[in-house]
Symmetry: C2
Subunit: 189 residues, 2 copies
């Protein structure tokens, strides 16, 4: 687990480490190879609960293997479903929802997250948050469809009422404007 701020995912982890406590309920909206799922499972501990979504069997299998190796499998519910079904499949409020958009690393089938489902999922994620809870979104713009997804994320961020949500869009100040960036939305306490 890196503790520096060397990219969008380490920055997301920085926020999550401060907010997510043992016993919390959280969501990994895009489990991919399971790195974030395991990170969240470690933060919530044996009394907590993680819902981890993906639509690819390979992603869910890789995540299950990673969790099992770490002895964290029993606190995670793997959901074979699109993250646009968050509201339907997560029972009740959570402390954090984590998105890591774009490709599944290592996959060969070209499956990517898309603006329509991502926008719906982000809207549902903010509605699931407890006061003080956060949504983190790591956004990649370098692949086909990336700019459209960036526009969807920014539109979602701009739509959140300031009276209810603090929203930060964090980009790397000494790298290309195409470098991955992070959006953090906090439900005001």
């Amino acid at each position: 687990m890196t503790r520096g701020l060397s990219g969008a995912v380490p920055l997301a982890h920085f926020f999550l480490r401060e907010r997510v406590k043992p016993g919390d309920r959280v969501v990994d909206a895009t489990c991919g190879n399971g790195h974030d799922t395991l990170f969240l499972a470690e933060l919530v501990g044996p009394e907590g609960r993680v819902w981890a979504f993906d639509i690819q069997d390979a992603a869910l299998a890789a995540t299950a293997k990673r969790l099992e190796a770490a002895g964290c499998g029993e606190r995670v519910e793997l959901v074979n479903g699109g993250h646009e079904r968050l509201a339907e499949l997560v029972p009740g409020p959570v402390t954090a929802v984590v998105f890591n958009l774009g490709f599944l690393p290592g996959a060969e089938n070209g499956t990517i997250t898309t603006p329509a489902t991502t926008g719906a999922a982000l809207d549902q994620a903010t509605e699931l948050l407890l006061p003080g809870g956060i949504v983190t979104v790591a956004v990649y713009t370098g692949h086909p469809g990336g700019p459209e997804e960036e526009a969807a994320v920014d539109a979602w961020a701009a739509s959140l009422p300031p009276a209810r949500f603090n929203v930060w869009r964090c980009r790397q100040g000494n790298r290309s404007s195409a470098a991955p960036y992070l959006v953090v939305a906090e439900c005001r306490a």
Copy 2:
């Protein structure tokens, strides 16, 4: 002390709370009315040290009063000097340097931080950092001279070599683009 992410200063405090430990040495480059100075003094504790810079007697007096009321005066060195003299007046490496640019709140004399001295101060601040240390810069663009200062901060951020520094420019995603923003530069460990 607010713990939410409701503005550039609360976001700076979020980063500082994670990084600054008891016994650390830190700098408040723009002490203003002393709110950040006191926050830093509490983080470093009785064994730590804070250097607090300002060029306005009213700012230093207000800060001294605030520190005295909190019983933290002895761990803070108030420096009547511009922050472009950081390298000269701070003896050795530090964990954090905090900038809160723009006007002294409540002052009537129109004194503002300026791009030339701010740029020099930021350059010196990054050179003072220990590995893992951070510079935080809250930037306001709404006053005369604000856009020029924004340009100076962004130029400084862009100039930092990625091999040595992680730099994040964080703006509010659901407020005006003219809202205050935060830049965080981390010296890579």
